[in-house]
Symmetry: C2
Subunit: 242 residues, 2 copies
Amino acid sequence: MNTAQTLDRIRIVLSCTSHPGNIGAAARAMKTMGLRRLVLVSPLHFPDPVAEARASGAGDVLARAQVVGSMREALAGTVFAAAMTARRRELALPPKSARDAAGVVMSYAQSGEVALVFGNETSGLSNEDVALCQMPVMIPTNPEYSSLNLGAAVQILCYELRMHCESELAIEPPEAVPASFEEVERFHEHLESVMANSGFFDPANPKRLLQRVRRLFGRIRLEKEEVGILRGFLAAVDRKPD
Amino acid sequence: MNTAQTLDRIRIVLSCTSHPGNIGAAARAMKTMGLRRLVLVSPLHFPDPVAEARASGAGDVLARAQVVGSMREALAGTVFAAAMTARRRELALPPKSARDAAGVVMSYAQSGEVALVFGNETSGLSNEDVALCQMPVMIPTNPEYSSLNLGAAVQILCYELRMHCESELAIEPPEAVPASFEEVERFHEHLESVMANSGFFDPANPKRLLQRVRRLFGRIRLEKEEVGILRGFLAAVDRKPD
């Protein structure tokens, strides 16, 4: 696959963006680096003339942007998602640097659709949204002032993706076929129901346990065949409550 | 020298900026990466509330920004300057990538003051301004749309500087003491006058020849001692017209 084809498999997902100027800046940042696929989860103002103005010559990226109502919709069809985060989170994996993350993202883009997810300007991503992704990403910053503008963060990540394409490093596809977002989600639903049926946890208050379980399987980056094995096992052990 | 001390030797110079929002965005981009010294050459609007708003928590960088009337003033005291350029220029050196340039800039910052120079949003830098710098720099972009926002370009360069600091690569100072901007400028004035006195060129139309001479000595990156040798030689050969 050439650079353009690989970059076309990467969607930039902006969640709950407050300022339409940042959506425009993100579109311009993407296009300068050769990315075209923008997905907006519940933007506060979109479409908006301020977004158009800041997009400059990247109006086509805005025009083709897909607006969805949930992170699950935004990640549909992906085999890998990376979540930008400005801080370490208690239950999340340790974040990768933008540069290292770019290599991982490009590698998965050899196998299928990939997402890079950015949160709201003030509050970032929710822990639930981060848990839907397989890898947290941080941009190294000044510890005394780490408040990157959203468009600037998109610019750096897209730049690192392009640099990775242009470097002489061969991009190796992952060794096995990665499971899709939907396959992993169905596995988590299955697991959750089996855990509930078994009496292992209280479905009225499952939040922390489920986050830990997602963290565990997120770290593995499940392959398609592995999901099949795990779900076969779950089906075998499942005992519906009487 | 630690990271903060090295980054404090690097000034970001914005020449003839049209939109105050970009000045604010540049200040924020700088501060997130640990840079603090902003120099503005003839900005169209500054100070300006739009710049303040876009600077967000980097208002201190704006408040300390130095406003000057010429590129020569902006480069005073530097031992090295790199010029952002979006295109190859006929008489300039081949540009370095932002990543490679960051290494060179950090190396010179071990010896003294260094500048990173960015031009106007629409027209970029003049050839004359580029000729005052020792190294052109380009950010790799999508060949079909390379129009990086000014603040985004500042963000990428400052990010590369910080990444260079944080990498495990040792930053080696240049082997000898580099000549200062003023020393190199006095050498060029001296050379020009000797070339005119000798009848070597027509002072009424010197432009292209002087550009070629600047390109040549820019590539050499003169050391302090070398400027002394060259100026001694110029003094020795100089024959004032009768």
